[in-house]
């Protein structure tokens, strides 16, 4: 699976695109754990008491996993595109 990261989250991760080991059948949460495992700066930015901060967005194939899917329990499928980003600030 590949994560796309935006704005300061990409800066904390040191990259805009990060490949992780999570496989189809595992969950978005597993892919997030893989992403944060060796990136303490990013983990510190997006987690609060071990939980994902409410203002951090997680998308799977353009859909918000919290409001449109099963949250971090959403099951991964082959070829999924995952995205992690802070509150949007266009305009």
């Amino acid at each position: 699976m590949e994560w796309k990261l935006f704005a300061d989250l990409a800066e904390h991760a040191g990259d805009r695109h990060v490949a992780v080991d999570a496989e189809p059948g595992e969950t978005v949460g597993d892919a997030l754990d893989d992403l944060l495992a060796d990136r303490p700066a990013l983990a510190d930015r997006v987690l609060e008491d071990g939980e994902l901060r409410s203002q951090i967005n997680v998308l799977r194939n353009g859909k918000d996993v919290r409001s449109q899917e099963d949250g971090l329990e959403t099951e991964l499928e082959d070829g999924d595109e995952l995205a992690l980003f802070p509150p949007v600030s266009g305009g």
Binding site: F6, A7, A83, F85, P87, V88, S89, G90, G91
Partner: protein, 277 residues
Amino acid sequence: MKVLGICGRDVADDALERTADRIVDRLSREGRVGVIWYDATIADGTPELRDPSITPGGDVTYDLGADGDWTATGTDLSVSDALDTFAGDCAYAVVVGVESLRYPTVLVGESDDRPRSTVATVPTPADLDLEAIVETLEDAEPHETLESLVARVKRSPDADRAGAIATFTGRVRAKDSTDDARTEYLEFEKYEGVADERLESLRTDLEDRDGVYAVELFHRTGVVRDGEDIVFVVVLAGHRGEAFRTVEDGIDRLKDEVPLFKKEVTVDDEFWVHERA
């Protein structure tokens, strides 16, 4: 309107002309093409008259023919102004000889010193891959102005029933208060693909409203300097009430829903705007 730059490095005098000629010919098959030849040596914006002893007044002159053909001379027109005037009715603009263009640029000649926006480098005009250029432009960010979007909604098939156009323009604010550090530019990052999908679904949502006939939304990405426009929302509606409501909801929802991220660079700081909100 899609914009393409052409620049040269140590090439024969006519290489830029022949490059522009081939590219403009190809683009003309797709739509109307505007061409800007930048030449820093032009220093006289007055027309040539039949009687050279007469120096006419006027800062801008159009020589008009009966069937709409024209030539023009004048002063105080920047490359960006010229692009803005093309944007209303051209599908493409080709800009020759400008190094710092923020649009895709073709470089003619061999050099390591390429403009940052270079998308193709060719040794001679004969080496151009015209189809690849058309494809590159398809994916490139268009040049839009408030006027070009207004012109587009006026071409709506339902324009006969529309008595109102409401617009919103968002621009870079240099200062929030008198003693605020001056903002030099904003830099917008976009989630490619998803941002465009959400803009399109927002547009169709707004167009589905009763009495709303056409909606255009456009947001620039990359660097937008102090005083420049960032975002436009244009609504064509039957009456002013639904036009005003829709334009307000349009910009509010764009700011809430579309994955765009704004970095602000002031004279003494640099920060992501969501971290200060």
